[in-house]
């Protein structure tokens, strides 16, 4: 899918700079300008539900604006933007991908803001075929665990959590190794893990609490805060955005009480 996007993407240099909105329209967020504009928001897969709703609300508040969301693993989105995909806003599920983009001068003014926090949880299929009751059960030989690839933020966080648990004598120093031996697939984004666990193909998966909340038929086991990782979600206007004022307005909307309320409805915690 990523490949198609890349192939179909015109080089960003093809956009003439003269396309910047005329100066007589001071506030792009103003409802008085019905000029048709499209805002491309590249957001981490875990934001699918929340940003879908925020996009609709932002469109309703800004006549003539269409928000096109592109959801994928943050690492995939970063790659797409690096290859010239026409993104206006980038919302990552980790700082790592955002920082990489900052060093590549792909973020406007090199500035970004945290807008939400998330943490992880173990999910189980509705029938719980492997009878997983505790976190210790993840180390049971032969259970099938589905994770995200280590390049995906959630996959990286999952491995950090397992490493944290291995430092605790309750779980033992080989806990992480034992659990990772049970991994049957490293998926390319967190939603793939949810789907495959939901289909019952895996006995367990590690995803964000927001994903677990969005899939209520799944069972879940909480990961205690002392092992859990707080995923900080940063948001930025992309440097080559052809619509940077509108993009900035979208960022403000996400940070506004309305945007925050939507995020909290989908299970995200406020940043900080």
């Amino acid at each position: 899918m990523a490949a198609c996007t890349l192939a179909a993407t015109p080089a960003p240099t093809a956009v003439p700079p003269t396309q910047a909105p005329p100066t007589q329209v001071p506030t792009p967020a103003s409802t008085a300008s019905p000029e048709a504009r499209t805002l491309n928001v590249f957001a981490a897969a875990s934001l699918t539900g929340a940003f879908g709703e925020i996009a609709k609300a932002f469109e309703a508040a800004n006549l003539g604006v269409t928000v096109t969301n592109n959801f994928a693993g943050s690492q995939a989105l970063r790659t797409q933007i690096e290859q010239g995909a026409p993104a206006d806003v980038f919302a990552s599920a980790d700082h790592k991908n955002m920082d990489t983009m900052v060093t590549e001068n792909l973020v406007q003014d090199g500035k970004y803001q945290d807008f939400a926090n998330n943490k992880l949880v173990v999910i189980l299929p509705p029938k719980n075929p492997a009878n997983i009751q505790t976190l210790q059960d993840l180390a049971k030989p032969g259970m099938k665990l589905i994770l995200e690839d280590a390049s995906v933020p959630a996959g990286n966080y999952s491995r950090q959590i397992l490493a944290n648990m291995s430092k605790d004598s309750t779980y033992g120093s080989d806990f992480s190794d034992k659990v990772l031996k049970n991994v049957v697939s490293n998926e390319t984004d967190v939603k793939q893990v949810v789907s495959k666990v939901d289909l019952g193909e895996g006995d367990a998966g590690i995803v964000y609490v927001t994903d677990a909340q969005a899939a209520p038929d799944l069972k879940s086991i909480e990961i205690p805060d002392n092992f859990n990782v707080i995923a900080k979600y940063p948001l930025a206007v992309v440097a080559k955005s052809s619509n940077s004022e509108l993009a900035a307005a979208f960022v403000q909307y996400v940070l506004s009480p309305e945007g925050q309320a939507v995020l909290q409805k989908w299970g995200f915690a406020p940043a900080k």
Partner: protein
Amino acid sequence: MARAIPLTSLRRSLPKPVARRRTGWIFIIPSLVMIVLFALPLLALILRAAGSDFLISIAAPSALQALRVSLVTSTLSLCVTLLCGTPLAYLLARSQFPLKPWLETLIDLPIVLPPSVAGIALLMAFGRNGMVGPSLSLLGIHLPFTTAAVVMAQTFVSGPLYIRAARIGFTDVDVQLEEAATVEGANAWQLFREVMIPLAGTALLNGAILCWARALGEFGATILFAGNLEGVTQTMPLAVYIGLERDLAIALALSVMLVAVSILLLTSARRLERRED
């Protein structure tokens, strides 16, 4: 339904090239557009890969594992296709039975079906909660996320290419030769083994090459049905996909390798055709 015409017969039926003065720019320029579209990305890929440490990347453990998984699974999938697809192609070429056109459509379907559809369909059938998955697990067989699942996905997608080629090969064998062999007292197996296989040999080999190349390139059905695990289900195309987001040098090295293998396979198929001419 239009039957696939092997490259050879197509070439044979073409008249000799027309005089050069009649092919003007009106033909050359649109042709160049296509040629540039095909050639430029491959050239860019090779140049970019040559710029990075190709040999180091190709020797990286994850690249080697992907190579091994790809070779093992595509070869197994070819074996399955040869063993079960050859008799099927023979039946289709030589027997008449009810619903035969429907069977032919069924076999051609995977060629045009998006591989992602194939992947979901395989999951719905053989997944743990799929149609036959629960019965299989009673027998202790779990298919998703195994190397066997990769082989199944590849066979699903690539098998039809071989069956198609073999069916045409068998159809092209002169019926009189078969009749002569039967008069000489050959039984069905002898006829198949000693007359049909040698006479249709080139078509079979050609089909096998295309089938193997397609299996080697399978991506969509594999990632959906077999998942992505290094050394178990991560084939070269999956490693290329993951590599783009993780380690571009490995993705480039593997891509160049896949291009090289594909060129090798296509040239050998071409050479076979020429030999037959």
